[in-house]
Symmetry: C2
Subunit: 177 residues, 2 copies
DNA sequence: TGGTTCTATATCGAGCTGACATATATCGAA
DNA sequence: TTCGATATATGTCAGCTCGATATAGAACCA
């Protein structure tokens, strides 16, 4: 699965500019399970346009570069549907946090606590974003599935880390006594 | 966090060849939260060697290319400890599965079930690998933290998907009646 | 008035993946 | 017994992606 298919996915919900696609990926429904940068989105849109899978309409704006609004074509929809009918590749999960935790014996206690608190904040932000997505009633069939899955997994992480933090607190109080 | 730091991390546990590092990343403790290919591991090891962060010993083998065994140096350990004392970047999670689920209204019911079953199998395989890691008593301070976190999150995913599959079954039976 | 953030497009070096090439050993199935 | 698959073992390379950077005006707050 590449950025081109991802763009087709976003454009199948509504037409959008490259900038708006990036925002959808960062803040919207897609944010929990996919990422892409401008450096891959813009070339992908140009290619999709060349292949006839999207159309391009330049929206004039006073004193700004034209907003290039892309819309999916029928061929694009067909390509999307074809691309998603492939057994999904294994999830890819990269976590510097867990890497650092593996070597926590070499970390100063204060830093350890700070790192765990950051991870907790990140997870809670993700959960918050899901809550916001639920309020914006854009709910298709699949979006509830995705949001419920995300909520289940993220909540489990939050619960685990909160317990760990409490234990850390207790043991540091004990050590001080 | 790059592949060089990752290699230092693995080598801090025991000396290993590039091939063995890859295996550790695929099957061992690191598998839950990091990935790297030969195309990045071999160049990383060469660079680390050039920088004096690891040493290289060629182990002769009959009828096979020499096994190049790398070991971390003191400078390497220092570099590792320095590199992990940076607040971790946000977790990166990429899931083709969830992308497909978002558009599940366009998927044939049989494929939908198959995709969910594959995801479930993948998650259970990950859980199984954690169980195996627990048996091999290589447990450092941090490894329990990492394994417990992984178990918490993966179990939540499994539980969610099993419920979904049951519901799918019920609704397809109802539809058949 | 000045600083920060937002809208908006685009490029590019560096890093990484996934596929391929190479070579041998081992082990089960046809 | 032969054939294919899997495992050991190192390495290259095209192509994809990230993250930083460039550009530039708008909006907003202090």
């Amino acid at each position: 699965m590449n950025v081109k298919t991802l763009c087709l996915g976003v454009l199948s919900l509504r037409e959008a500019s490259g900038y708006e696609i990036k925002k959808e990926i960062e803040e919207g429904l897609f944010s929990h399970f996919i990422d892409a940068s401008f450096g891959s989105i813009y070339p992908a849109l140009m290619q999709l346009n060349a292949e006839g899978l999207v159309t391009l309409r330049a929206e004039e704006q006073t004193n700004r570069p034209d907003k290039k609004v892309y819309a999916i074509t029928e061929a694009g929809s067909a390509a999307l549907i074809k691309n998603i009918q492939v057994l999904p590749a294994r999830d890819k999960y990269k976590s510097e946090f867990l890497f650092e935790m593996l070597f926590q014996e070499f970390l100063p206690p204060d830093f350890l606590r700070l790192a765990i608190e950051k991870q907790l904040t990140d997870l809670k932000e993700d959960l918050q974003r899901i809550t916001e997505c639920r309020l914006e009633e854009t709910c298709e069939f699949g979006s509830n599935f995705v949001m419920d899955y995300g909520e289940a997994v993220l909540s489990a992480g939050v619960k685990f880390l909160e317990t760990k933090l409490t234990n850390l607190h207790i043991s540091s109080v004990k050590a001080a006594q």
